[in-house]
């Protein structure tokens, strides 16, 4: 827990430091954050004592597209569907504008061969990585790992559940 607080305040400090760069849509939302007293020098209320208003970590802000981390796929497919392109684009832009590192975790539903699913999960993760590098992220910022069908989130044998499991997740360094 302690580690997470330190990390998130570091992230905020990092964001505050580069707040002049044009990433307005991801930094626009400001909320109270009691743990971020060390990160307030660029905020307008930086001289006020206990409570300060700063840009919240957009990766954790439910109002930001960057808080959305799941890209879903069709059965036996690894093409990033149009509906997930804004999400992928936002993360690519975010990565392009700061030095963050992200791991893309590829997953599949449990039907069929475990080994084929492992390769398919890798292919999904690689597809997301490729899209992000085209859109501004650096190759070295993105690791890909496949879990295949081994870490399914939903356990029922039905399509609604399988659809949730055919997924790539974006996990930023320090988040897990």
């Amino acid at each position: 827990m302690m580690k997470r607080i330190v990390l998130s305040s570091l992230l905020i400090a990092g964001l505050a430091a580069c707040s002049s760069t044009p990433v307005k849509e991801t930094e626009a939302v400001k909320v109270e954050d009691k743990s971020a007293t060390s990160a307030t020098k660029s905020g307008p209320d930086s001289k006020s004592v206990t409570q300060s208003t700063v840009a919240v970590n957009p990766l954790k802000d439910p109002g930001s597209i960057l808080s959305k981390r799941n890209v879903f796929f069709d059965f036996d497919e690894y093409v990033v569907k149009d509906e997930f392109k804004p999400l992928v684009q936002a993360h690519a832009k975010y990565l392009g504008q700061n030095g963050s590192k992200v791991t893309v975790l590829g997953n599949t539903d449990e039907r069929g061969s475990r080994e084929y699913n492992l390769a398919l999960g890798q292919r999904r993760a690689d597809a997301v990585k490729k899209a992000m590098t085209i859109l501004g992220a650096n190759d070295k910022q993105i690791e890909t790992v496949s879990y295949g069908e081994e870490k399914a989130k939903c356990a029922q044998a039905e399509e609604s559940c399988w659809a949730q499991n055919r997924r790539a997740d974006l996990v930023y360094q320090g988040e897990q």
Binding site: S113, R114, E115, Y116, L118, A119, Q122
Partner: protein
């Protein structure tokens, strides 16, 4: 540091104690002609902690080729050919009989003397004298079952072989090895991260497998007698699908270090990986022919997962499966003439058999979520994973599809079976 991290995630168990999941056998289907045989309880057998002839009978019945003839009400039970009343046993339907006796030697060892008799011709088909300790009773029973099986069918028995599989209990994964009948299970590795694709070395003394202990798939080889483990493939991306070459010195693996999953050959001790395939699709699940000349594998280079083959030195791929849009998990038969694999048809995944000379495919099972078929070393049976009651169980089907049996554990989710080679003596 890396080594420390490796072991931090792993609890290794090398106890001789029983593993948690005990498998039990249940024959779920059988048709066609079965050979009627009477396995008469051996003289002095009742003094043993477990009945030898019960284990022998269960082995023979599970093969699907034998029907056991009841010996109840016969007194005294024959233990020598001269004591057999053939007319009576023929009346009970027996075409063959097994009789024997057990003697305790001065050193405490047991001497087991038995004969397999043709009940029609009244001639001896096989016989042997074995010595064993009481701790070796089960193994000895399997050896006797092998001798009987070979005497009557002409094929080598597989009752003394072992199988490997993965059991998932909650969040814990255990790689286990047991006798071919599912008894005597031992845990060779336990991990909190997934384990898959165990593959027996040709000598049967090592297992290669895929472990997620470093939070991503790597290929590990473990010596079964010493427990020593070594990482064979730990490249960027996926390291998976190990298959041994027949000399036991190298493995074919699927790696995604240079592209999407492709096949490579790598020394069994680890080292440089030599690339075998260069396709635009996923290449994985290699299986090597017994003569070592060919590798069959799954590839979706043509748009859907199908089985292909290449020379094991590399070269052009030839497509082997054409029916259906999903053919996966090939395993080459020991005689090289056929390949078992999983075929999806109308949403059902079933065990199928491809006859290489004709290209003909026969679906062997009628379940819907079958995985990982693995040939017995005599090629007569196929072990696979399937679902029953919402959890994974192991099952066998005869290579002609006529007889099915199920090896179901009392708990846990069982998957990824691999049938080991004939024991080396």
């Amino acid at each position: 540091m890396k080594a420390f991290r490796l072991f931090a995630f792993i609890v290794m168990l090398f106890t001789l104690g029983k593993a948690q999941a005990q498998l039990t056998i249940e024959i779920v289907g059988g048709a066609g002609k079965q050979f009627p045989i009477a396995v008469v309880p051996f003289a002095n057998e009742s003094a043993l902690p477990q009945s030898l002839t019960q284990i022998i009978g269960a082995d023979l019945a599970r093969s699907g080729l034998f029907r056991l003839v009841n010996a109840s009400g016969v007194t005294p039970l024959p233990s020598e050919p001269s004591e057999i009343n053939y007319a009576d046993w023929r009346g009970r339907g027996a075409d063959a009989m097994v009789v024997g006796r057990i003697k305790t030697l001065e050193n405490g060892q047991l001497e087991i003397r038995f004969r397999v008799m043709d009940a029609v011709k009244q001639t001896q088909l096989a016989g042997a004298v074995l010595t064993a300790s009481t701790a070796q009773l089960r193994t000895t029973a399997h050896r006797i079952a092998d001798i009987i099986y070979e005497a009557i069918t002409g094929d080598k028995g597989v009752f003394t072989t072992r199988i490997a599989y993965v059991v998932k209990q909650g969040k814990r994964y255990e790689l286990q090895v047991s006798d071919a009948d599912g008894f005597g299970a031992q845990t060779v590795l336990a991990s909190n991260e997934p384990l898959l694709s165990p593959a027996w070395s040709p000598e049967g003394n090592q297992l290669a497998y895929v472990s997620f202990e470093n939070k991503r798939p790597i290929v590990v080889v473990q010596n079964l007698s010493t427990g020593a483990r070594r990482i064979v493939a730990n490249f960027r991306g996926n390291n998976s699908a190990p298959a041994w070459l027949p000399d036991g010195r190298s493995l074919v693996v699927a790696l995604s270090k240079d592209a999407i999953s492709q096949l490579y050959v790598i020394p069994a001790g680890g080292g440089d990986a030599k690339r075998l395939t260069s396709s635009s699709g996923i290449d994985t699940e290699p299986t090597v022919s017994a003569d070592g000349k060919w590798i069959a594998f799954l590839s979706d280079r043509g748009g859907s997962p199908q089985i292909y083959q290449i020379p094991s030195s590399g070269g052009d791929a030839q497509r082997l499966t054409f029916e259906g849009s999903y053919n996966a998990s090939p395993d080459w038969s020991p005689d090289g003439k056929s390949i078992t694999f999983i075929q999806r048809d109308e949403g059902r995944f079933r065990v199928a058999l491809l006859e290489l000379s004709t290209g003909q495919v026969q679906v062997l099972t009628d379940s819907s979520l079958d995985e990982s078929p693995s040939f017995a070393p005599n090629g007569k049976m196929i072990l696979y994973a399937t679902q029953a009651g919402g959890r994974g169980v192991l099952a066998t089907v005869s290579a002609d599809g006529r007889v099915k049996s199920r090896l179901s554990a009392t708990s846990g989710d069982i998957r990824e079976p691999a049938w080991g080679p004939f024991p080396k003596n």
